[in-house]
Symmetry: C2
Subunit: 182 residues, 2 copies
DNA sequence: ACAAGATATATCGATCCAGAGGTAAAGAAC
DNA sequence: GTTCTTTACCTCTGGATCGATATATCTTGT
């Protein structure tokens, strides 16, 4: 998704792509050559991108990569209907968010944000005692577990706040009028 | 790490372990049977845990798993000297945090927190223009990328705040006196 | 008596992915 | 002129992990 997302902004060669993906996702989990180049090839085989060999401006010749219409369609499909992990895994969610603007319909964007919003609403119970009973965060003995819960809560509230504003804004822009539940 | 960490609290059977790991890490990324049971076996072969077959209280017989001294040592080694990914990847970091209390020396705990603190201090530049120049977050066109940066910043500040308090507290408790740099 | 469902453990094949290694070109340093 | 570094690309291997599948036990409902 990151490869197609970046290429949708402008054509890039593999090395440049690698640096951009590394800056985005790699801040937390660097991308290896052995992952990037086979993935580029896979996307090329699938018709999602084309390759033009260009003389290297600094060194070895580059393969300029350009996204195709098929690639754009694929990217939009991934964004419009993300797999569960892209909603629940923060790392993946942030990657998705970085490219959500490529989904041009504000209604569709709002729907994706709503899925994340719904996920964040679910209360999270992380720890249980010996009998399987949930331990409320103020009764946790470990200060680290306490901190974990506290950070988790404040992060969630912060993102929920942003999501609500963003969703309202997108719906307003697309002429959506909220339905009152019967 | 999660398996040994939970077993360090009290002995558990695989199914219970699975639910606990799922609640902790699986909130974002569920654990599969095909991952858990081979890992348990690997840890058993490595002498990190022992297995006692007990009659199932509810259903099929259980294998009660107990951590050994070797397992405890291994867990402490992982906690004391975590691989880079456990510092930079939020998902992994939170797992580590959930078991950091098993590292009993407050000085050692503080050192791990300090590594995370150092990582969070590094400024994060996520996006670049066509010429490779960094784009400041207020000049990002996509509202999603703006939100991403904003959430990222506030999350970091929140965690940094907690880390600083916690580190100071741990150092105080271990009789550490901060050195003034020369 | 029987079926359904939760509990509980285990294996296997396919796939993903990182790390290590290899090639090559251009410019900089010595 | 030779080496070093950076840029740039690529492949192979092994380990990790997932999904599917299989098995067995006990409780509950019909």
């Amino acid at each position: 998704m990151a490869i197609l997302g970046f290429l949708r902004d402008f054509p890039l060669h593999g090395y440049d792509l690698k640096n951009r993906v590394a800056a985005l996702a790699g801040h937390v989990r660097p991308i290896a050559d052995g992952t990037l180049y086979p993935t580029i090839k896979k996307l090329e085989d699938a018709g999602c991108l084309t390759r033009r060999t260009a003389p290297g401006s600094v060194a070895a010749p580059r393969h300029m990569l350009e996204i195709t219409q098929d690639g754009t369609d694929q990217l939009r499909r991934w964004l419009r209907n993300p797999e569960p992990g892209f909603i629940t895994d923060d790392n993946k969610w942030y990657v998705l968010l970085a490219f959500l603007h490529h989904l041009e319909n504000p209604r569709e964007q709002a729907l994706v944000l709503a899925r994340r919003r719904e996920f964040l609403d679910k209360p999270t119970q992380l720890f249980f005692d010996g009998d399987g009973r949930p331990i409320p965060s103020d009764q946790l003995e470990s200060p680290f577990r306490k901190g974990l819960m506290q950070i988790h809560r404040s992060v969630n509230l912060n993102e929920i706040d942003w999501l609500d504003h963003q969703i309202a804004d997108l719906n307003r822009r697309s002429g959506y009028v909220a339905q009152r539940s019967p």
